[in-house]
Symmetry: C2
Subunit: 207 residues, 2 copies
Amino acid sequence: MTTAAEPDDLAESARSRRRLAPDERREQLLVAAERLFARRPYAEVSTTEIAREAGVARGLLNHYFGDKRALYLEVVRRASLLPEFGEVPLAIGEMTERVDVAVRWFLGLITPERASYLTVRAAEGVGEDGDVLAILDEASDLAAGRVLEMVGGDPADPAARAVVRAYGELARGAVREWTRGALTREQAHLLLREALLTIVREVLPGL
Amino acid sequence: MTTAAEPDDLAESARSRRRLAPDERREQLLVAAERLFARRPYAEVSTTEIAREAGVARGLLNHYFGDKRALYLEVVRRASLLPEFGEVPLAIGEMTERVDVAVRWFLGLITPERASYLTVRAAEGVGEDGDVLAILDEASDLAAGRVLEMVGGDPADPAARAVVRAYGELARGAVREWTRGALTREQAHLLLREALLTIVREVLPGL
DNA sequence: TGCCCTTGTTGGCACTCTGCCAATAGTAGG
DNA sequence: CCTACTATTGGCAGAGTGCCAACAAGGGCA
């Protein structure tokens, strides 16, 4: 009985004296960090705590990520990208229809357990932090490109991308109001649909 | 010469062995903290540094604000509120005109040295931090009320306020794209004007 | 004018957190 | 089974933070 049977994938969170493959361990640490950083601001989460959550020695965090900040940036990067960004419904037909599909697609992505996407950027307060901004901007720009494709805009036009990136902020704000209960899903949908329609019809052509 | 002439307001940043009125000292510390927090994230700024910037002993920070976090929240509170929020131009006339005035007013507020307003919320990345969110939300809601007054909406309608709060995110995004050079001021203005117009005409009535 | 007392201000102690590194020990391959 | 590779650990040194008792600036009162 003392000989380890095969507790391979059970009690993963308990004692871990096991030697894992780097990728596996790295993933585990990221998940632990993600969980803690999501609930409390950066400075309030200690690496000791993260290590405990993952059931490893604190030094291992530095081994895998260098320092606390690098680990945090990694967490931000993961949270800022909606994995489903790729599965864009090829909307065809009337403009009204395409816009409606785009909005429905976006609203559908958020809700579930993708809540982390919402907490992104909803956090700290003041401060530049170019590293974080770069990550968030990249994700924002990626989403903007997708939306432009869906509504038939020109993804190559920098100004158009900028407008849609700004629209992304509206979308984030609308979803937040929705999840907070200040707006119903229908109301949020209405706002995003009309705004996007206006952008396509009135703003983009006027650039 | 050794007798202090009246170096009242000169070399304010140099040695300060002087005994200031609490309000004065507090203000000085806030300014110093604001300057540093604006350029680097919270965790990267040490209280030692802030104290040095203000030319006082580190312990004084704790005396005035309790702890580093409280000081930070104070800075966020100040940065989140546009002082000129009160001076709302009483827009009258056509709806198109009123919306245009509202947007021009908003865009006019931001640019100058009020840049701190932009860095608000542009910062960290992931994490809840209810304290910060509460501050930012309060400022956002205040601005939303003002805008509703200007365009003739009903500030008492929770849903309307929520929609305009979300619009505030679009505004913040548009200004950011503008200051970044991705949009001209005219383009940002166009976007914000058309979007607000659509909200007033199509969205608010449909709630 | 000169002392005194209020209180703004300082400096240092104790504790926690972080980064680093040498020592330890799983585990796969021979 | 044994060995070499390397994932993993534990502790050390330095920095940052909160706290508190002692100090002194400067206005008020005699």
